[in-house]
Symmetry: C2
């Protein structure tokens, strides 16, 4: 017996050691890893969860919350505490006012606090209840309890056990999947779509549940399952049944299903003779279709629509306005409390904007429609006026449509920032946009009713294509809940949940995250340059491209570099896109000297010898930024290699291989752009600046066949 | 301390219990699961592996073998024994004659036995060595040791510890990936291609190593990475570097990399002015290309070519023969010991065969070329003359080309047998073909030099799209090693490795496997019917299709059902395809009464009232077969549900959901085919036969948009 005990202990300790000190991880568990805590942290957690008590009867949502607590505590503590019906000392108590009379008591300060937290908020609090010291997870609804359970588990995993209260600042917190029905993902770099339409509705992948858990842990409360470049079939009965099966899985997690609707669906299904939004047969078709959908999905969220943009059909095909189109759909879903999210990313095949400035089109089309949309229509606006560039100034529509609820559309997937191979934390990008002052009395964040993120999720084992890209999903979710949260706080939290709370890891990882996006900006598009990527696949440098059919498809349209200078003049003597901003901004940005350096060439065309604040010429500054981009990429790599002792082999290696690739990519961008701009400017490289490794023709000849992300 | 011991033990026992009694599995580990053994089995294994000894110095391949033993024993036993340099009692000893002088001793019976086992064989034997009782894994090469290690681990996992000696009967045992460079997989139903061409060569997925392990465990020794519908880019420098990175990972596992070559590659890359195989510039281009490939991949296996078939380019475009084309490529790789596998699946866009019988084309084109191919060319022939139907008679080229080495091409992926949703064990299909007597003095198996399987592998977590489809990969590998192995022995072994050696599971699972393919034949294409599936996606019943451009694309071309009867007359008074078989077969099959029932309508057009051996009319027999297909599908489902107590929840549920879907599919096939054939025959349904659930028009109107497997 003694031998057996000894052997058993040894085996146990070995297995614990393996877990604690770096058993390989594949990233599937995301930030919900629930790895064993150190002893001191375990004691703190133990004190708050000697038992688990759910006040009142169970519901699918409380079932999810309790299952998550079991999973989390089994992982962090080795075992989950018992679920008990009665409150005891040290209980972890989940309760709503409806579930626990004490919380409904109007004299209770908790009741007062809960009243401020709305339908989705929660609080975590040490308190006495029925004579016992308990840790309370309280909310007004079961969804609030689920959010609270995730928040408490987050505290536990990091080893904090802080009191908290939190409620979302935005009502709509959605992912947008650009996932096609054939499982390709437009601009997806993490494998196939997780939605296996062929297998649904009978076959339900375990991933759907884990997807729901991950999103609920961040407070994401809606998901658009299919690409904005939509197909008619998604609104046919077989696909509605498939979407309903997904909705059934997501529902307990507080996540509503939405669908992207193709405006011409009834016409293409040969069920109407037109798609004119003012035609009664069209309106009736959509009304009936909405009824049909809601019969299968009673809490269906509504439609997302890309219309009259990049070849998609829309109301303008019938000489109707965006508002006509949106309001027709809105009327169909309104009886069911559904909404319509109508995208402002309009990018017409032909238009006066082309010769002038594509950046102006959305404002010109939508600003005049402010006040004409139905109450359940939101206009969904990309963060910038071009298209998810590494850096753009905030979109001028924010602050310009006070009578229309707006959704922010961020891109979580990195179409223009190195796919899933380059490390670029987008928390700083999101924060930069959200914190921008529109000078209309509000920051961008304050103009919003909701936030949508174009998902970076795919069938890859680690969901996002790379471990670090999980941070972008995380940051999006956190900022959708609270757009005033800081990118750095989110980074610290993500690092601790992803790699463990050891500060020898979290501090450098956070610093890597925080420097990463600026690094990409520097090696791709410094100083406000934009749209310099390769045609179609959007990978790699191609500032020389000037032969595409539409002027605004060509990088030269955007950088306008010539012998004399570089940059897009958007001031009054240029395209005057500046006029779309509030007067204070327009005034400030009218002068290059008061324009933020990081947006300089977005708004100004300047001579190569323009004197930068650094004392360098613009030409030398541009070169210095490219050099910094490369140097910082190497620094990212070096910082990661220093972490080797602290990270499990698998994740270490997977990140390391990508950083090698990123370094190659940074050098490629730097060298290709310098070779090209030098060919245009005719200027010599200052002493100390290394010449590109190859002549310009080499870079021009590079091709990227079979690049991912076509959809 | 006592409390701690108690808690530790409890935790350990809980974790063991979870492992032994059904912790959820996702199928990623395939048949290499290495789950903890029961105590009695552990003792047997322990007796054979008190230590592990590798005779001689390590190599990448022995590293792989030792790592696998560690992994396997850690899993099955709880811990791996120590590796020691010196042989002791109970050692597990890995040795070759070159590594261990005792084995090189010409007086040793082991030496004599090893001499019969070739470069890849191995033996497992209890013996004395240097005065100690050891378990010997012996082989002539390190690859043999790796194969032996896998064989020993298989024995251990099942709880047997039998002596064995084994050598492959076929030299070439290859997977063919129909994987495109954009990661779509033609006829793939398990997600994306595992080959992430974009990420390669820098980023190397862990899957590549696990893929190598799985294949090496079966003795598969080659893989063609890309689709036979190939693209020119695969032979450009960037993709050669990517393939080389894969080759580096597979090499220690004895797996050579091959590539599918597009015949017109040099022309399409604009590096020659023609692709004529007799043009010197073309020959030189291929010679140089081979040199370039072998510089990166010194053990490159060679090329697989689909030429002049289904629109692919080939030598006939230049009025040259298949032999001219194959021999030109063979000359390029011959100096490097490479081979060319030239596919006989020719299916010309235009030809006299169309009006006559497509089944005859390959024989007519290839039989006359016997003896004209270079020594390093193999002709790769599909198992049957049409295209991987649920049942086909063996291809008449087997036995008909005695001067040409032949490869068998089986399809492991289930293009025509219900994708990865329907359960159909192909071991019985493979066995049926391999065991067929060609009446030329050889079975089909005996005519072969190699075997290729069109892989069913994809990025799905369980690799194959469903747990049971793993059995098809397994059976292919086992039969490629030994084409005389039986499908049922393989099924038993797979069931034990996949679900554990408990006979309460392995017996019913084996019975399910063994009945499954005939079940699919019955509900899809009974009695020798074939090619009745939907257009293009090849899913679902469509026996009515008669309007496609080519006659031989239409199901009606194959079943030829009309008011009077059904079946394809391939006798002398029909297409006379029978003439392509040996005279004994032709004679036997000339008469429907001596033709196997299962091939009856393949060779004969018979009246609906033809008297079957059962006493039923052909019409009634056909209906009975469809009914049996549905009944047996329901039986498969029932047998699985009875296994619920013995299977982990995840795998149980995933299989169960597919069996529900399969039952729907079986009913669909039955009902649609009966509705159609009844509309043609005009015959009433006999009493007791249930009418189809819907009228024929319902089935004709079914569509399957976005079905998987396009590539």
């Amino acid at each position: 017996m003694r031998f057996f005990v000894h052997a058993a202990l040894t085996a146990l300790l070995l297995s614990l050691a393996a877990t604690a000190f770096g058993a390989d991880e594949d990233g599937y568990d995301l930030w919900l890893r629930y790895r064993p805590l150190e002893r001191a942290s375990q004691q703190r957690v133990q004190a708050q969860a000697r038992s688990i008590v759910l006040a009142g009867a169970s519901s699918p949502t409380t079932d999810a919350a309790l299952a998550e607590l079991d999973k989390g505590l089994s992982g962090t503590m080795g075992r989950a505490p018992a679920h008990t019906a009665r409150i005891g000392d040290g209980a972890l108590l989940l309760a709503t006012p409806a579930r626990l009379p004490a919380l409904a008591d109007t004299a209770s300060p908790l009741r007062t606090e809960l009243a401020t937290l709305g339908d989705e908020g929660y609080l975590l609090r040490q308190t006495r209840m029925q004579g016992h010291q308990v840790t309370l997870i309280a909310a007004n609804t079961d969804i609030g309890l689920l959010y609270g359970a995730f928040a408490w588990l987050r505290e536990a995993a990091i080893g904090n056990m802080r009191a908290a209260s939190s409620a979302p600042k935005l009502q709509l917190r959605l992912l947008n999947h650009w996932d096609n029905l054939d499982r390709t993902v437009e601009r997806g770099y993490a494998g196939q779509s997780i939605w296996d339409w062929w297998a649904l509705p009978d076959i339900k992948d375990q991933r759907y549940t884990d997807y729901a858990r991950a999103n609920a842990s961040l407070g994401i409360n809606g998901t658009v399952l299919n690409n904005v470049n939509s197909k008619p079939e998604i609104l046919t009965a077989p696909f509605i049944a498939k979407a309903a099966a997904v909705a059934d899985i997501l529902r307990p997690y507080g996540i509503k299903v939405y669908l992207s609707a193709r405006f011409s669906t009834p016409l293409e299904l040969h069920e109407t003779s037109t798609a004119d939004p003012l035609a009664p047969e069209v309106q009736q078709w959509w009304n009936k279709k909405a009824d049909e959908i809601y019969k299968s999905i009673p809490d269906f969220g509504g439609f997302l629509v890309k219309a009259n943009s990049e070849g998609q059909p829309g109301p303008q095909d019938y000489h109707r306005t965006h508002a006509d189109g949106a309001n027709m759909l809105a009327a169909a879903v309104a009886p069911h409390k559904g909404i319509v999210m109508w995208r402002a990313f309009v990018y017409a095949p032909k238009g006066a904007h082309l010769a002038d400035d594509r950046a102006k089109q959305a404002y010109e089309e939508f600003k005049p429609l402010d006040g004409t949309f139905a109450a359940n229509v939101l206009v969904q606006v990309k963060n910038g006026a071009i298209d998810f560039q590494p850096r753009e100034p905030f979109h001028p529509l924010f602050g310009a449509m006070p009578k229309t609820p707006l959704m922010m559309e961020f891109q979580i997937t990195k179409e223009y920032l190195g796919y899933s191979t380059d490390l670029a934390y987008l928390g700083t990008l999101f924060e930069e946009t959200l914190d921008s002052d529109t000078r209309t009395g509000k920051t961008v964040a304050q103009t919003l009713s909701g936030m949508a993120g174009v998902a970076n999720i795919g069938s890859d084992r680690n969901w996002a294509g790379s471990h670090f890209d999980q941070a972008n999903w995380y940051a999006f979710g956190k900022l959708a809940w609270n757009p005033q949260a800081t990118a750095s706080d989110i980074a610290i939290e993500w690092a601790a949940l992803t790699f463990g709370p050891d500060q020898r890891v979290t501090t450098p990882v956070t610093e890597m995250l925080m420097m990463s996006r600026e690094t990409v900006v520097n090696y791709m598009t410094p100083l406000g340059l934009h749209h310099m990527m390769g045609t179609s696949h959007h990978f790699g440098p191609a500032p020389w491209v000037d032969n595409l059919e539409r002027p605004d498809w060509n990088p030269v349209y955007y950088h306008r570099a010539d012998r004399n200078g570089i940059g897009f003049n958007r001031t009054a003597i240029g395209s005057n896109a500046l006029e779309q901003y509030a007067p204070e901004i327009a005034r400030q940005y009218a002068d290059p000297h008061t324009t933020p350096q990081q947006l300089l060439l977005w708004f100004h065309h300047l001579p190569w010898d323009y004197a930068m604040p650094s004392g360098r010429t613009l030409w030398a500054e541009l070169l210095a930024r490219y050099d910094k981009g490369v140097a910082d990429t190497k620094l990212l790599h070096a910082r990661w290699t220093a972490l080797k002792p602290f990270i499990d082999t698998r994740r270490y290696t997977e990140v390391e291989q990508r950083l090698v690739r990123q370094t190659q990519n940074a050098i490629l961008w730097r060298d290709a752009c310098i070779a090209y701009f030098q060919s245009v400017s005719g200027l010599p490289l200052p002493p100390g600046v290394q010449a590109p490794a190859h002549p310009l023709e080499y870079y021009k000849a590079l091709r990227y066949p079979y690049a991912p992300g076509r959809g």
